[in-house]
C-alpha cells in the first residue's frame, strides 16, 4: 500500500531512529577505547586500536558503521529538505513554543558534527589507514601504529582542544534530543517508561560528553 518508490515519512523516521541509536552504541565503544589513551602507557591504546583496525569481524562491522552514518546523514537531509519545503513562506515572528530547545536545531548540530567528523576522519582514520602517515612503535616485538602518541601530540594544541570540546558539546546536544526522540519515532512512548528513557537520554549525552571531553582536557592540563 502507498507509494513504493518514495518511502513514507514514518518509514524514513524509523530508519533515522534505528541508525541513530546504532550510532550511539558505536560512540560508547569509541569512547571506551579512547579513554585507554589516558593510561600511563599508550601501549594498551595502540593495541586496541590495532585490533579495531585489523580484526576481520570488526572490519565487517566497520562497513555497517559507515552505512549507518551514511543512511543517518542522507535520510536526515531528505527529511530536512522536505520539512523546509512544507513551509515555503516563513513566519515574520518565528515560533518559540515551550519545547526542548535542542530539538529545534538538530540539522544545525548535525552539520557541525558532520564537519567535525570529516576533519576527525582526515586526522586519524585516513592518515592511519590509507596514507601511512603514522609512526610505528614496537610493543612486545610487534609493530603497531603509534596512534597514542599522535593523540597526545594533537591535544597539546589549544585550538585543537577547543575545537574538539566544542564539537563534542554540540554532539551531546544532538544526542540529548536524538536518543529519546528515536524511541518516540519507533512508537515507544509509555507513561511509565518514557520519563526513564528521557533521563537515560540526558545521561547518555552527559556521559559521552564527559567521557570524550575528559581526554583532551586531561592531556592538555596533565603530564603527558
Amino acid at each position: 500500500m502507498g507509494n513504493k518508490v518514495i518511502q513514507s515519512s514514518l518509514t524514513k523516521k524509523y530508519v533515522m531512529a534505528l541508525a541513530g541509536l546504532f550510532l550511539v552504541t558505536f560512540l560508547f565503544v569509541h569512547m571506551s577505547i579512547n579513554l585507554l589513551v589516558l593510561l600511563p602507557s599508550t601501549d594498551t591504546f595502540n593495541i586496541a586500536a590495532h585490533f579495531m583496525g585489523t580484526n576481520p569481524l570488526i572490519k565487517i562491522f566497520e562497513v555497517v558503521l559507515f552505512g549507518g552514518f551514511i543512511i543517518h546523514i542522507i535520510y536526515g537531509l531528505v527529511l530536512q529538505i522536505q520539512n523546509w519545503m512544507a513551509r515555503p513562506n516563513r513566519y515574520k515572528v518565528e515560533g518559540w513554543s515551550h519545547t526542548s530547545p535542542f530539538s529545534k536545531f538538530m540539522i544545525h548540530t548535525a552539520i557541525i558534527v558532520f564537519v567535525f567528523l570529516v576533519i576527525h576522519l582526515g586526522d586519524f582514520y585516513i592518515k592511519a589507514k590509507f596514507l601511512g602517515q603514522v609512526d610505528d612503535v614496537m610493543i612486545d616485538g610487534h609493530h603497531y601504529h603509534d596512534l597514542g602518541a599522535m593523540v597526545l601530540a594533537k591535544f597539546q594544541m589549544p585550538l585543537y582542544v577547543f575545537g574538539y570540546i566544542l564539537a563534542i558539546i554540540i554532539l551531546a546536544f544532538h544526542l540529548h534530543h536524538g536518543f529519546q526522540s528515536g524511541f518516540q519515532s519507533l512508537g515507544i512512548n509509555h507513561p511509565k517508561y518514557t520519563p526513564f528513557i528521557k533521563t537515560v537520554s540526558t545521561l547518555v549525552s552527559i556521559v559521552l560528553a564527559v567521557g570524550f571531553i575528559s581526554i583532551p582536557l586531561t592531556i592538555y592540563f596533565g603530564n603527558y
Binding site: 527529511l79 515574520k92 518559540w96
Partner: protein
C-alpha cells in the same frame, strides 16, 4: 488599551501580500481577541475600506474554525485555548501585535488571514472513519470497552482540527492531527478491525499533501488548544510499523 496591530493583508490566493499596521484604541481588556478585530473591521468598513478577513464561527473554542498566528504563536499567548477564547487581558497597553495566517504548503492563503485547510478533510476522507453504514449495528453495550481506553480515545477525539499543530511545528507536520484520529480508533475495538488499512491510507495521504515530517519537537503539543498529547504520535508510529510489517494486503 491602545494597541498597534501588524496584520498580514493579501487580496487573493495568487496575490502578493504584505503587513499593514493598524492602530486600535480604547479596547477593553475583557473583550476577546476576535471582538477586538471586529472593532477594527467596523472602523475599516466605516472608512469604506475592506475589512480584514479571518476565519471564525462558534467563538467558544470548539468548532476549530478560528486560526491566527499571533506574536509567533498559534492561537496567541495563552495555553489550551483557541484564538476566539483569547482575551485582551493577556496583552499590555501599547503592545504591537503581529497577526499572521497559518503558514504551510498544504494550507495556502485564500485571503488575508484565511487559509484553506481542506487538506485535513482529505486526510480524513482517506481513512479517518469506521466503515459501518447506518443501521444493522449491535447494541451499544454489546462490546464493553475499558474505561481507560475509552478515556484515552476521548482525549484523542477532542481534536478540533484547527491546524494549530501544523502552524506551530517548525516542519509544518500534521502528525498530531493525524495521530489523534488514528489513536482514537486504534484504542477502540470497533476501530481495530480496519486499523491497519486506516493508518497506512491516512499517512500516505498526509505525505502526498506535502506536510513536513515529525522531528519530535512537540511544539504541536505545547500549542494544541485541546491539549492533544504526542503519545498519540508514538501510537501512530507503532500502529504504522506493525501495519507495514504484518499487513497481509500488498
Amino acid at each position: 488599551m491602545n494597541l498597534t496591530l501588524k496584520i498580514w493583508r493579501q487580496a487573493g490566493p495568487n496575490e502578493q501580500g504584505k503587513f499593514v499596521n493598524y492602530p486600535v484604541s480604547d479596547i477593553s481588556p475583557d473583550s476577546s481577541f476576535l471582538e477586538m478585530l471586529d472593532i477594527l473591521n467596523e472602523q475599516l468598513v466605516e472608512k469604506g475600506e475592506e475589512p480584514v478577513a479571518f476565519d471564525h464561527d462558534c467563538r467558544e473554542g470548539i468548532c476549530g474554525t478560528c486560526s491566527l498566528y499571533i506574536n509567533g504563536r498559534p492561537h496567541g499567548p495563552d495555553t489550551a485555548i483557541t484564538t476566539c477564547q483569547l482575551h485582551m487581558r493577556k496583552f499590555k497597553d501599547g503592545d504591537t501585535i503581529t497577526i499572521e495566517p497559518w503558514r504551510a504548503k498544504p494550507f495556502p492563503v485564500i485571503r488575508d488571514l484565511i487559509v484553506d485547510r481542506s487538506s485535513f478533510d482529505e486526510i480524513m476522507q482517506a481513512g479517518g472513519f469506521i466503515s459501518v453504514d447506518t443501521g444493522g449495528v449491535p447494541d451499544a453495550n454489546a462490546i464493553p470497552i475499558s474505561k481507560v481506553d475509552a478515556d484515552l480515545a476521548m482525549d484523542a477525539a477532542a481534536c478540533i482540527g484547527c491546524g494549530a499543530c501544523v502552524a506551530a511545528c517548525k516542519n509544518a507536520s500534521a502528525m498530531l492531527f493525524v495521530s489523534a484520529k488514528v489513536s482514537q480508533f486504534a484504542l477502540l475495538p470497533q476501530g481495530k478491525i480496519e486499523a491497519k488499512r486506516r493508518v497506512q491510507k491516512m499517512v500516505a495521504k498526509m505525505d502526498e499533501l506535502g506536510f513536513g515530517n515529525c522531528t519530535n519537537t512537540y511544539a504541536c503539543e505545547a500549542e494544541c488548544p485541546k491539549e492533544i498529547q504526542v503519545t498519540n504520535i508514538a501510537r501512530m508510529n507503532r500502529e504504522f510499523l506493525v501495519a507495514k510489517l504484518t499487513d497481509r494486503v500488498k
